[in-house]
């Protein structure tokens, strides 16, 4: 606590400051934030690609980056919350596809308004999330196993049921069905003036704001940190640990529904084999964003920065005209670096507060 004391910032009037407390400079307060490591990383990645890729700074390129980040980010937000709550969801990737398939096939087979299909899909997807949560809290098995099971089952169901109902591995086009136009504005893209805006970016921003509000300013947020940081202690003071975890899984399911509807309504068919592997991307974004893999620490904004890094890297490599095969290598290196940086920052921040 003695060495490396930050020079007291002049000009700040200390109102009732404890003499044992080294004046915390704004810089050090910033260092204590979970998303700091990822912000530094994001700036580094941004500067790097601005230099090596000429096309990177054009408005259209940045829009593409933002779109890529938003599709991932929508899922990374609830996955980060779940991770702060101390659990994983490996089924999140295919759940997006399941949600899109249910919506599409229900509307097509029942010749219903696509909004009815979307509503049915919402209920079923939330049910899937609740199933994950209930299985976890009832069996007390690790979430890794439970959601690995759901992941495999959903992967099989997606392919099996789609082939059974449609005869092929993709769904029939619902582009000409009732309600499609309005649904594609809500979930696909819309235009303001003469700019086209991807709806996912709006959804993403709303989710980030909502999740941050929940985490930092509500009782439920307090419980999320508690069940991830010390489930037994939380239970002992009366926190409904099981309900909290089930709701977190349903949060992931809700985001999967949004992503699924985006998938469906920005094209009009869904490939049943999609989504496999994405669940790890969501987790990577959350971890790069400063979520502790063991739970109890992290932020929604961090997951957004993680998603942004992911988007910049995946598109930056294209704009730099490199072989996209290198993307995974960069992503892996980034994950390691970010995790190390986070661990280092947190250790320093905790040692000096």
């Amino acid at each position: 606590m003695s060495q490396a004391a930050p020079p007291a910032t002049p000009g700040r009037t200390p109102e009732k400051v404890d003499e044992r407390l080294l004046r915390t400079s704004p810089l050090r307060r910033l260092m204590g934030r979970p998303e700091l490591g990822s912000v530094v990383g994001a700036v580094a990645v941004f500067v790097f690609f601005s230099i090596v890729a000429d096309a990177f700074l054009q408005a259209s390129s940045l829009a593409t980056v933002l779109y890529a980040a938003s599709t991932l980010g929508i899922m990374a937000v609830p996955v980060a919350l779940l991770m702060i709550g101390g659990e994983f969801d490996l089924s999140a990737g295919v759940m997006v596809t399941s949600s899109a398939l249910i919506s599409s096939m229900f509307s097509y087979q029942m010749t219903a308004n696509v909004w009815v299909g979307a509503l049915v899909s919402l209920l079923v997807t939330l049910g899937l999330g609740a199933f994950n949560g209930l299985m976890l809290t009832r069996t007390k098995l690790p979430s890794f196993i439970i959601t690995l099971g759901t992941f495999l089952m959903l992967t099989g169901l997606n392919l099996g049921l789609t082939k059974l109902i449609s005869g092929t591995v993709s769904t029939k086009s619902i582009g000409d069905m009732e309600g499609f136009a309005s649904a594609s504005i809500v979930f696909g893209e819309f235009t303001i003036g003469d700019t086209t805006v991807k709806a996912t970016i709006v959804w993403w921003l709303v989710l980030i704001a909502f999740a941050t509000w929940i985490l930092l300013r509500t009782r439920f947020g307090n419980w999320i940190f508690a069940v991830g940081g010390g489930a037994d202690a939380a239970r002992a003071v009366g926190v409904p640990v099981k309900r909290t975890k089930i709701l977190l899984y349903m949060g992931v399911a809700f985001a999967a529904w949004i992503s699924g509807q985006h998938l469906l309504f920005s094209f009009d068919v869904v490939q049943s084999g999609e989504g496999v592997g994405n669940e790890l991307t969501y987790i990577i974004a959350a971890v790069i964003g400063g979520c502790l893999i063991t739970g109890g620490y992290g932020s929604a904004i961090g997951s957004a920065v993680g998603a942004l890094i992911f988007g910049m890297t995946s598109k930056g490599i294209v704009y730099a005209e490199w072989n996209p095969d290198w993307f995974k290598f960069f992503l892996g290196a980034m994950l390691l670096l970010a995790t190390l940086l986070n661990a280092w920052v947190r250790k320093r921040a905790e040692a000096t507060t």
């Binding site: 300013r217 037994d232 939380a234 239970r235 003071v237 109890g296 905790e350």
Partner: protein, 275 residues
């Protein structure tokens, strides 16, 4: 006035294992009841029954004279019984003020704008801790950065603030040094003076005798003795706690013990074969 908490012949079985058999104790307002026992004596089982984590299988459990069987820790809290555990009193990574109000967070606003009353939470945490004599550096620091004694004290202050009538403390001094233990015992006494009944679980008769009014000794799941402060001396308590005659036997055994020929699966005194 009836006791705040009264156990009468309480037993608990896990399958065919008799964890607790016929244990009686009472705890009155403004008094400290100490439960003493060695590891495996049934102290944790006893505490879990009082805290609402387990239901008892036989005997009666009365809270303020009314017979009950607690279904959950929440119910115990609602009935005024707050339990502070040695190892899981708090969530280490969370700031002190979030820990202080965990599970009973005050809110303001209504509907979708219902939110944590952060200002009140911070201010109350600071003032309540100060009232207990804990002068905290920063309520925003993760509680894991506090010392073990300070953490216990925060948990005790929290229980007092939330209107606990009975405070159950699970080995509050077990992992602490001499000075830290003294600090914690001071807050235990402060809670007593505030009119709370305290059930103090410990295996240290010295700590128990410093503050205790009643003493219950557990041995292998049964109650081996029950004293009030008037009927027992520290020496007697220590002797009974240490096992009395058993200690004598142990002394003999240790004196006569032969050097073992095998230690840890390897012939003693020989080099471990290289593999």
């Amino acid at each position: 006035m009836s006791a705040l908490v009264e156990l009468d012949g309480v037993s608990k079985y896990y399958g065919n294992i008799r964890a607790l058999e016929g244990v009686s104790l009472e705890c009155r307002a403004g008094e400290i009841t100490c439960v003493l026992g060695d590891n495996g004596a049934g102290k944790s089982t006893l505490i879990k029954i009082v805290a609402g984590l387990h239901r008892h299988d036989a005997g009666t459990f009365r809270i303020e004279g009314e017979e009950t069987s607690l279904a959950s820790p929440r119910e115990a809290l609602d009935r005024g019984i707050a339990t502070v555990y040695q190892d899981l009193a708090v969530v280490p990574l969370m700031p002190v003020w979030r820990n202080f109000f965990l599970g009973s967070e005050p809110t303001k606003g209504a509907g979708p704008f219902k939110r944590l009353d952060v200002e009140t939470m911070r201010r109350t945490t600071r003032s309540e801790l100060l009232r207990m004599g804990i002068d905290l550096r920063d309520v925003d620091q993760p509680i894991g950065t506090l010392s073990g004694g300070e953490r216990q004290c925060v948990a005790i202050a929290r229980a007092v603030y939330f209107g606990a009538k009975v405070l159950v403390l699970d080995e509050p001094t077990a992992a602490l040094g001499v000075k830290q233990s003294g600090v914690v015992l001071k807050y235990v006494a402060a809670a007593r003076d505030a009119g709370l009944g305290v059930v103090l679980i410990t295996h240290n008769p010295h700590h128990a005798y410093l503050v205790g009014d009643r003493f219950v000794l557990l041995k292998r799941g049964v109650m081996s003795a029950s004293h009030t402060r008037q009927t027992v001396t520290l020496d007697e308590l220590t002797r009974q706690m240490a096992g009395g005659s058993e200690l004598e036997d142990l002394r003999h055994e240790l004196e006569r013990a032969q050097a073992p020929t095998h230690l840890g699966g390897h012939p003693a005194g020989k080099e471990r074969p290289a593999d």
